[in-house]
Symmetry: C2
Subunit: 423 residues, 2 copies
């Protein structure tokens, strides 16, 4: 590994991880700004800004941006998360300079032209409509809100139609000026790239970035709650979550190993019990999401109306069984899955960029592969039992459901299975 | 490139494309059998067989299969297409032997145990339900049927609930015996693998495969037609298709370049016109699918009820504009996109396996990267204009729609925009 980091006087962090055998480059800018940095009145603004970055700069029209990158067969994309927004590209080696130039341009000189803005409002409102038509996406927006009600981290990333319809050019410009500062950004590259090249681009192309670092944001508090959307659909889409751990928590990897053993693959408890033994559903899996100051550990399942009552008791039973009887074998298997998935991910240059930017964001430094592997290996069966017990004892689960969910038990009933009363 | 091919006396084809710098291996078996090989009474059987392969063999229970592969952090998966079914794995280098052993076992010795079968019927019926809840999947099933009505290639891969509920152990065994023959299979590997290793596995582990090659199937004839599913949804999901070209057609790459220029990226005609200029939709893209004896070229868009009337005229206008005025620039850009996407895809071992198995299936030989690049480069602006004209003149479009689609024009009206009468 030949990872190198440079911090420019402006505060911009530049990190590279060359893979000289590749003929393509992955690179991008990860900004420490996402939907949780928004005030209530700003909900959806990070995402709209991500869209509008592509809609033209002083030097380039929206069409120029698309045409320039695609003329060389490159791919330029972006996504908005709760804590970060990323603008990234994949190009053949010789086109690395072009990709850097375009990404810098859209981040530093966006035009936010009124006509484009009017158009893009409509596009985003349509994107919100698409999410509503995708129940296994929608249920996660509802779950997030149930976990973190009335908090920025609990709001949908896309915002609401009303909010989106109201954002102005000044809203975008002001938000960008406050949040898109050099100290809040990581420029990361991997694949057919040299560190010097990235640093040179960082110095020249990003020289006009304002100094300053990430802005404060409202702390997250997992509260729990429930949202039901009883609708006529083929499947009941059910999501459950418990208070998890923050990214910096010593148990951050414990949460990952736990979720993997509970429902991370075909050999996991939930998949074996719900799908393989009982044919209750096609889809069931567990997940652990961590934010900087809070987290959630949960389960999604898509099942039929008739069987929608059987998933919640099953989850409770398996979580409790893990708190007393998690086995050496299943925990070792979960560790092996996480480690292999890490190593295989590192074979892809985009994944390397994302991992590095994530580490710099969370820890302020890079974790080596060895260090990550050591941390995963440090999660033993005792840690998993203890972690499962903590989840079971904490109470206040969050629940969200979309579809024919009449048979899904109440949140109070679900909480009582853990000996808790729902708040 | 150090691709090697070996054909065993049984007819099994083994192909490898080592990437020695990787620490993981991708491998799998691609079977020349998919939903188009099914009789009407067998609809969904290929897919059910794909599921049941994971549900136990003489030596391994379903749980053993999942546990063995995941104990080493490996990933074992499968998918069923219209012409092929694939069983593939990704593992770290040292676990290549295990992955080969499991894949051979599930393909040669599946148990098709009655209890597992009863369970899996329920799981697949749930999977069908999930598709119904995903309008942008459902609309493609409806489109396929509108293109190829009452033909095996037009039927949904998953089959129907009724069919799935009725399949027996004997149905599965009989179908497998007829179709899963050595001459109809390609064993492909890439990444940290040696050809000798694959051949050795092919000889030992697959020695009990019956000789024989792919079975005949009913020819496909693009007919056109329409299915509307007027439902209460946020978005109108619209799909359109025209008769395209078969995989072996000299115009197979012309179709790809055409679809890319029409709607393959941000710079494409449809994206620019529909999303960027007019804000009509969040999603719009074109595609070209080729089967061995037929094909389709089409467009998907998700839009609002209010704007659902504007997409069809736009598609007709852009296709006609391309037939007379496709530009050198846009065609060159589409070629660059296809070539870069090919080259970047080749950086992933699974994509290499899939490409090789596809070539052996379609052409009976491998196309070198240079040869593919030459064929893409051979598509000039004249070819694109001619291809667009052929599509426009052929008439008989297929249309499918799900959601609030009242404003979508009739198929007769859409066909008349091309000067055609819908059959």
């Amino acid at each position: 590994m030949t990872i190198r980091i440079t911090r420019l006087p402006s505060g911009l962090t530049i990190v590279s991880d060359p893979m000289p055998h590749l003929m393509s480059t992955a690179l991008g800018v990860w900004v420490n700004c996402g939907s949780r940095h928004e005030q209530a009145s700003e909900s959806g603004l990070s995402h709209m800004l991500e869209h509008m970055a592509f809609k033209g700069t002083r030097r380039r029209s929206a069409r120029d941006i698309a045409t320039e990158i695609e003329s060389v067969g490159g791919d330029l994309n972006a996504y908005t998360g709760r804590e970060q927004t990323a603008f990234h590209a994949r190009v053949l080696k010789d086109d690395t300079g072009l990709a850097l130039d375009i990404i810098a341009d859209i981040l530093i000189d966006p035009a936010f032209e009124e006509g484009e803005l009017a158009n893009e409002r409509d596009v985003i409102i349509q994107e919100i409509g698409q999410t509503r038509d995708t129940p296994d996406d929608l249920v996660f927006d509802l779950l997030q809100e149930a976990c973190f009600p009335d908090q920025p981290v609990g709001r949908p990333i896309f915002g609401s139609e009303e909010k989106v319809a109201g954002f102005s050019r000044d809203d975008l410009g002001g938000y960008m000026a406050r949040h898109y500062r050099a100290g809040a950004m990581v420029l990361a590259g991997s694949g057919a790239i040299e560190h010097e090249r990235l640093v040179e681009a960082g110095e020249k192309l990003f020289s006009r970035l304002e100094k300053g670092s990430e802005r404060e944001y409202e702390p997250a508090r997992f509260e729990g709650g429930e949202t039901r959307s009883d609708e006529e659909l083929e499947q009941a889409h059910l999501a459950f979550a418990f208070s998890g751990v923050s990214s910096n928590d010593p148990d951050a990897y414990t949460a990952q190993v736990f979720a993997t053993a509970l429902g991370g693959g075909m050999s996991s408890r939930l998949f074996q019990e719900a799908r393989e033994k009982r044919g209750l559903c096609y889809a069931i899996y567990a997940f652990a999401h961590s934010y900087r100051d809070a987290g959630m550990v949960g389960v999604y399942s898509g099942t039929s109306a008739a069987k929608a009552g059987e998933i919640a008791p099953l989850i409770a039973a398996e979580m409790q069984a893990m708190s007393t009887g998690a086995t050496e074998e299943e925990v070792a298997r979960a560790r092996a899955q996480l480690k292999a998935s890490l190593l295989m991910g590192l074979e892809q240059p985009h994944a390397r960029c994302e991992l590095m930017a994530g580490h710099l964001h969370i820890y302020g430094r890079l974790l080596s592969t060895d260090e990550i592997v050591r941390r995963i290996d440090g999660v033993d069966v005792e840690a998993i039992r203890r972690f499962a017990l903590k989840l079971c004892e904490a109470g206040n689960p969050a629940m969200a459901s979309v579809g024919p969910v009449k048979r899904l038990e109440s949140r109070a009933r679900f909480a009582s299975r853990f000996g808790c009363r729902a708040a």
